[in-house]
């Protein structure tokens, strides 16, 4: 629908199909690990985080053209994306731990949150 129709040599988008199937497999593995594997919780968390990172990289390469040569604004947006991801994840963990890691000396209400 845009002004240029870009088709590579073959009309079957092999890269996209591989990426699509691989993403589904990775998601199913993550779901299996969480729901049925019965591993200890720290293991589960580690495994699903690794799977998440693999899938993110996979999608950036397979769908988001990160390997191609991009104009400058694209890099700016990608970096901003990493920044936002870090803020959302690290920020939420820090805020929802009520910042209690800084307050060990205070005792009191710190106890119920000691498991941050």
């Amino acid at each position: 629908m845009s002004e240029h129709t870009e088709h590579s040599e073959s009309s079957i988008p092999v890269k996209h199909i591989i990426g699509f199937i691989a993403s589904i497999v990775l998601t199913l593995v993550a779901a299996y690990t969480t729901v049925m594997s019965g591993l200890p919780v720290p293991w589960i968390i580690a495994i699903i985080m690794i799977l998440a990172v693999i899938q993110a990289v996979l999608q950036l390469v397979m769908f988001m053209h990160i390997a191609e040569k991009n104009p400058i604004p694209q890099y700016g947006n990608i970096l901003f994306g990493f920044f936002i991801a870090a803020v959302v994840i690290a920020g939420s963990i820090w805020v929802m731990s009520f910042g209690m890691s800084d307050m060990d000396m205070n005792g009191g209400s710190g106890e119920e949150h000691s498991d941050h």
């Binding site: 959302v88 920020g91 805020v95 910042g99 307050m103």
Partner: protein, 649 residues
């Protein structure tokens, strides 16, 4: 069956609701009658419902926004009536809760958002010299998902009951334990549905602005409104997925019994607040930045000067976009996180005042020594500066964590955010609509009536919200449905102000009708002696926008063109123009999504599952749609342009 319909499906037992039902039926019958009587169904379908033209989509967004402004405004008047005197019995507590919830949600998501997106739709492609947005089909789909989302939210007050846990929908109040009825589901699914449209719009405009600018227009030569649209799109793309996830998690809590935010089962209720404001704070910059862009354009045009500090404006918006994602905790300082958390977010909040202050001084600098014309768009911009600054400064007061423990959830907060949202976003949208009105409809809005509407709005706004700062300091909490006797004088004043404000809106809408009938038609495309490329087109704008796209040398492209006498019609460079075809799919697909969402609201999986399958079928059909659009032949371009320009020479 009838028992279910009467007791659960329809909201019964409330005279105001019966009135609303009757008026909905009457208005629907009236619309159907008018369309049928004047044989307008085919025209409506061909010209608007199936359109992919960014100008028409923009107009539909703005009409929807004004309708929602009416609905949210009626909610506001009902609340102010209830709060005018102590012991009023106009609304009961449940009804009052529903009204403030729908007022907030409607005004932010179904009024402010479509208004800014509508203006972006009309103006951005014209400002960058593009024929349409990058993905016209997606643009139509965005509008219709927004529209059906808004309708889903709005039918809740007669079918099933409105959400009543506030526009923030905090758990546990909004969770399955304390709100077991279906009301909250409307909030979740309506926002989810319209959120699809907003996210798609963000992507659409990011791509449009990065890929479809006129030759020579580097990023630093874009008009400032386009810059604000670009930054807004980026914020939308990064903020809205957070809302999508948060809504999906709460929907699963409510419909499938999961425990993300519940009290039982190791849920974390405050995590909802955390995620909500991770989206919610960037959201307030999404609705304010385009307004800043409008003011920059308007002030520069009517002060007859180049925008002062163009680069500083751009960098200020970039800094605001970054900072908007790191201040969210200031909405819930009283959650009681440690001193480290609250201090950090106090500091980032105060930092945001710096780039905003830079922008304020740039606007003042633009006006300094300018020969200012006091037309209505400029009046809105002039009123914005002091009123918004009051709202902004009280925001910095609220941003100090220690002080916030006093202000939190009082009317001081209410006065603050209405101060920035009305004086910022709403004044900005009124300024923008009045400013670009001749481009959209071929005639200006009447100046005299516009000034009456402007003064009523500004005076009404200040009478309504200035007393609320003091009410807040006196201890009046928000979301209370009765007032103490000692708060009465200021509340009564505030209510009177609200009715004056409403008068301003009524006259604004009347002005649309009056101007359509009596205002002289525009003869040129350049109604205000404008500076950027949208004024280079003829009025009415041809559906392909630009016959030939000019080469751009500065961020005031049209100003340069006027000096050299260039136009957007260079006969020697004409080529057939590639344009997209109109499509019925977006409205049909969105209607199916509406049905599926309605099914989910009621836990009717027999309706929701076929609905979702229908959506997938639509996507498959769309994937195999090889329609490449059509080309406008040179003869047609010549005919259109000569007809439009013949009047000028």
């Amino acid at each position: 069956m009838w028992d279910f319909i009467w007791n659960d499906f329809l909201v019964t037992g409330e005279p105001l609701i019966y009135g609303a039902m009757a008026s909905i039926v009457l208005v629907t019958v009236l619309i159907v009658f008018v369309l049928t009587y004047f044989k307008l169904w085919k025209w409506l379908w061909d010209e608007y419902l199936t359109t992919v033209d960014h100008k028409k989509i923009g107009i539909m967004y703005i009409i929807a926004a004004l309708a929602m402004l009416f609905r949210g405004g009626v909610d506001a008047l009902m609340m102010r009536t209830q709060l005018a005197l102590p012991g009023m019995n106009f609304l009961n507590s449940v009804h009052y809760n529903e009204i403030f919830t729908t007022h907030g949600t409607t005004m932010i998501l179904f009024m402010a958002m479509p208004f800014i997106i509508g203006l972006m739709n009309v103006v951005v492609p014209l400002q960058i010299g593009a024929r349409d947005v990058a993905f016209p089909f997606l643009n139509a789909l965005s509008f219709w998902t927004f529209f059906f989302g808004a309708m889903l939210f709005n039918i809740s007050f007669v079918i099933g009951g409105s959400p009543s846990a506030g526009w923030t929908s905090y758990v546990p109040m909004a969770g399955p334990e304390l709100s077991p009825e279906i009301n909250q589901n409307y909030y979740l699914l309506a926002l989810q549905l319209s959120g699809i449209g907003t996210l798609a719009t963000g992507i659409n405009f990011l791509v449009t602005i990065l890929r479809m600018r006129a030759p020579g227009m580097t990023l630093m030569k874009m008009p400032i409104f386009t810059w604000s649209a670009l930054i807004t799109s980026i914020i939308i793309i990064f903020a809205f997925p957070i809302l999508t996830i948060a809504l999906a998690l709460m929907t699963m809590d409510r419909i499938f019994g999961t425990h993300f935010f519940t009290l039982a089962g190791e849920g974390m209720p405050m995590m909802w607040a955390n995620l909500f404001w991770l989206w919610g704070h960037p959201e307030v910059y999404i609705v304010i930045l385009p307004a800043f862009g409008v003011f920059s354009e308007v002030i520069s045009t009517f002060a007859r000067k180049q925008l002062f500090g163009y680069k500083a404006m751009v960098y200020a918006m970039c800094v605001i976009a970054g900072l908007s994602f790191v201040v969210w905790v200031h909405h819930f300082f009283t959650m009681g996180a440690g001193a480290g958390v609250n201090s950090l977010f106090s500091i980032t909040t105060m930092l945001i005042a710096v780039p905003t202050g830079i922008k304020i001084f740039n606007w003042l600098g633009t006006m300094y020594k300018g020969r200012i014309r006091f037309n209505v768009p400029m009046l809105w911009a002039l009123a914005f500066i002091p009123n918004f600054t009051i709202g902004g400064v009280t925001g910095v007061m609220l941003g100090m964590a220690a002080a916030d423990y006093q202000y939190h959830n009082t009317y001081f907060l209410i006065a603050h955010f209405h101060g920035v949202l009305i004086a910022g976003t709403l004044f900005g949208m009124f300024a923008g609509l009045t400013y670009w009105y001749p481009k959209m409809f071929g005639h200006k809005m009447n100046e005299k009536i516009g000034k009456v509407s402007f003064w009523l709005t500004v005076i009404g706004f200040n009478i309504t919200f200035l007393p609320q700062y003091f009410l807040g300091l006196m201890g009046m909490p928000r979301r209370t449905y009765t007032i103490e006797p000692e708060w009465m004088p200021l509340n009564l004043l505030s209510t009177i102000g609200a009715f004056i404000l409403a008068g301003g809106f009524v006259i604004f809408v009347y002005n649309i009708y009056f101007s359509a009938r009596y205002e002289p038609r525009e003869k040129t495309g350049d109604a205000w002696d404008g500076r950027s490329l949208e004024w280079a087109t003829t009025t009415p704008v041809p559906h392909y926008n630009f016959a030939t796209v000019p080469y751009v040398n500065s961020h005031e492209a049209y100003w340069d063109m006027k000096e050299t006498g260039a136009t957007t019609y260079d006969e020697s460079k004409l080529e057939p123009i590639h344009m997209p075809n109109y499509k019925g799919m977006p409205i049909i697909m969105s209607a199916i999504m509406f049905v599926a969402s309605f099914g989910l609201v009621w836990h009717w999986f027999w309706l929701a599952i076929p609905g979702l399958i229908g959506v997938i079928i639509c996507m498959v059909i769309r994937s195999f749609d090889y329609d490449e659009g059509y080309h406008v032949p040179i003869e047609e371009i010549k005919r259109t342009e000569e007809q439009a320009r013949g009047r000028k020479e």
